[in-house]
Amino acid sequence: MSSGKKFARSREYFERAAKVIPGGIYGSKSPGFLVPGHFPYYLEGAKGSCIVDVDGNQYIDYLCGYGSQIVGYGNPAVDGPALDQARRGDLLNQPHPVMVELAERLVDLVDGMDWAVFVKNGTDATTLATSIARADTGKQIVVAAEGAYHGAANWCSTNVFPVFTSAEQRDVRFFSYNNIAQLEKLFIDNKNNIACVILTPYHHPTYKPQQLPTPEFLKAVEVLCQREGAYFIMDDIRANFRLSMAGSHSYFGAHPDMVTMGKALANGYPISVLLGAEALKKTASSFFITGTYWMSAVPMIAAMATLNEMERLGGPHRLAQLGTLLKNGLESLGEKAGFKARVSGPPAIPFLTFDEDPNLFLNQRFCAAMADRGVFMHPHHNWFISLAHSEEDIERTLSAAREAFEELRGGFSALFMNKIHEQ
């Protein structure tokens, strides 16, 4: 079937959208971020590990709502209590008691954390964390790793316009992830001016292979922060509970002062959280923290249910098991087809790249071929395993991958034998 017919309704909606919505679909969901002609633009529903687009095409999904789905789409163990609360009232004048229960549970669960502030998006949490660090230390500079994503606020976004670079972005400094010498130099060059270092537990930049922290890196960050009077913030929005129920910092043996979590926290219901150590509680208390929807009850009920369901379904151990099956299978199939295909990152959050193609031509073609076969794998953004994925899903995925690699091999010589411009 031609892509025009296969995605007729998606395209129709997109044409309408472009007239009334800037960019049609903005941000990371923009069609240009995928491979137009091979991926749908609009989805209508989902169940378990599968998504269905507006044209009725079905996919095994490895994007999981950009990581927000961890126990599966439409999981009744989560949706049941959440919808029940929705009927009884979601956004009330005062918080629902579940807010206390959820804070207590997260503080018990996440290593080294003593308090919790609930917000809606990752950006809310990371912006609040860096603000608290700045207020507490009286220092201005935030240090982050190059290519790391910490949200869409002006201080951390890729909206690089002069009006922001001379204001909110002026005091953010960057170093290469895992490069201790560069970080040390930043502390020397900005003596007594660094408020915090914000890092993801492992490096997951868009368009690039993922990078795990070296054994000495996170320890060095801690030592430098302690020595220089700066706070260490772990931005765990993306990985969340996929690596450990105690937080990804626990998985990597790190000890941050604040941790941000979101995405999978409530299996897609809108809630994020900033967790902090006791030493920062007073400063956090002095902040006026509010947002119209920040204390809505339904996402908190969903978060409690999600934590229960994660534990019941085997949690991070099960995710790692499924992810390893996928990783090993893809690498093996890639090698058999003659590619240097490499799956980077933790098995539960894998991403396939081709060593021979840093510009991602092969990624785009591979993921397009997978989408053609009913498997949704993003060509530029890391993937996610959920507890709704099954061994059968992985088998079907690998079966599709075998064909996709073969298809790719057909175009390989054309891509890399000085003939790229002749295609």
Partner: protein, 292 residues
């Protein structure tokens, strides 16, 4: 927000003047390449004309009342030889354009000694004249045939406008003109300090832009973009499905994002590089929207 010429900073005026000069010269060159009639009307021995815009200290490293000419090298050899000076002269808006006819073949390239230099006393004058308005421009003849060269340049410029407007212009020619104007427009505005930080986070690399038999390459290095005629391994490819799609998108009749969604435009390879060029494209639109 649409700006008026009087609201622009000195740097912005210098960039807009350069943009206008480059577009005029590139479109004239592209018209010459595309139009056999124009080639026949080219004076024997070719045409060599230089636009020079006097500056008042605007731009990076500009000195007070300095003036400088930058060769607009269209042939690959000249491109390579002048690549190193591009950063230093990025905001010096002058250009030369030369056309040669030899044994029936047309060659467009740069030469050291033009037949005529058209001197503009400042950016504003250049912007006004090159936008079709009134303004000061001093023709400086340097060799016999100088005014024939100027006359031919005017003919080529107006022919380019006709080719863009006329319904009978082949799609390929129109697409080629629009693509040349767009890419050289990107080249002209890429040094804008407004884009400086943005350009630094965009990876360096080369984008191939293709439609039908037309192919251009835009190389991004640091904060500059340079249009090239060939490149071996582009890091990204932006292609239009056909000439009509290219014409619609490049003339603003179809939103690029919609064309991308419908498959009329396809992007492959290093996406952040292409996205970076889109940011420059937005800036180009901003400049072209300035009311003169």
């Amino acid at each position: 927000m649409l700006m008026k010429l009087s609201q622009l900073t000195k740097e912005q005026k210098a960039i807009l003047a350069r943009l206008k000069a480059w577009l005029a010269l590139q479109l004239a060159a592209e018209a010459f390449r595309s139009d056999a009639g124009l080639q026949k009307r080219c004076p024997v021995g070719g045409v060599s004309l230089k636009l020079k815009i006097m500056q008042n200290g605007a731009g990076r490293g500009g000195s007070v009342h300095s003036s400088s000419g930058r060769d607009m090298a269209i042939n690959p050899a000249a491109s390579a030889s002048s690549a190193d000076e591009s950063a230093a002269t990025a905001t010096k808006p002058a250009a030369t354009l030369q056309l040669f006819v030899k044994k029936g073949n047309a060659i467009v390239g740069a030469r050291n000694w033009p037949q005529l230099v058209l001197v503009f006393p400042g950016s504003e004058a250049a912007i006004k004249v090159l936008s079709g308005g009134k303004g000061a421009a001093l023709p400086l003849p340097l060799s016999p045939g100088a005014f024939k060269a100027l006359g031919f340049f005017k003919k080529a410029s107006s022919r380019a406008t006709e080719l863009l407007r006329e319904a009978q212009t082949p799609d390929m020619v129109r697409a080629s003109l629009l693509l040349a104007a767009t890419l050289h427009g990107l080249e002209a505005v890429s040094g804008d300090s407004y884009l400086e930080r943005r350009m630094l986070i965009v990876p360096d690399g080369t984008v191939a832009v293709r439609v039908g038999q037309i192919e251009f390459f835009a190389a991004k290095r640091g904060r500059d973009i340079r249009v090239m005629e060939s490149a071996q391994h582009p890091d990204a490819v932006l292609s239009f499905s056909d000439y009509q799609s290219a014409i619609k998108v490049l003339s603003g009749k179809r939103q690029a994002v919609v064309a991308l969604g419908s498959g009329e435009v396809k992007i492959e390879g290093l996406l952040p590089l292409v996205q970076g060029l889109f940011a420059v494209l937005d800036r180009l639109s901003w400049y072209l929207g300035v009311s003169v």
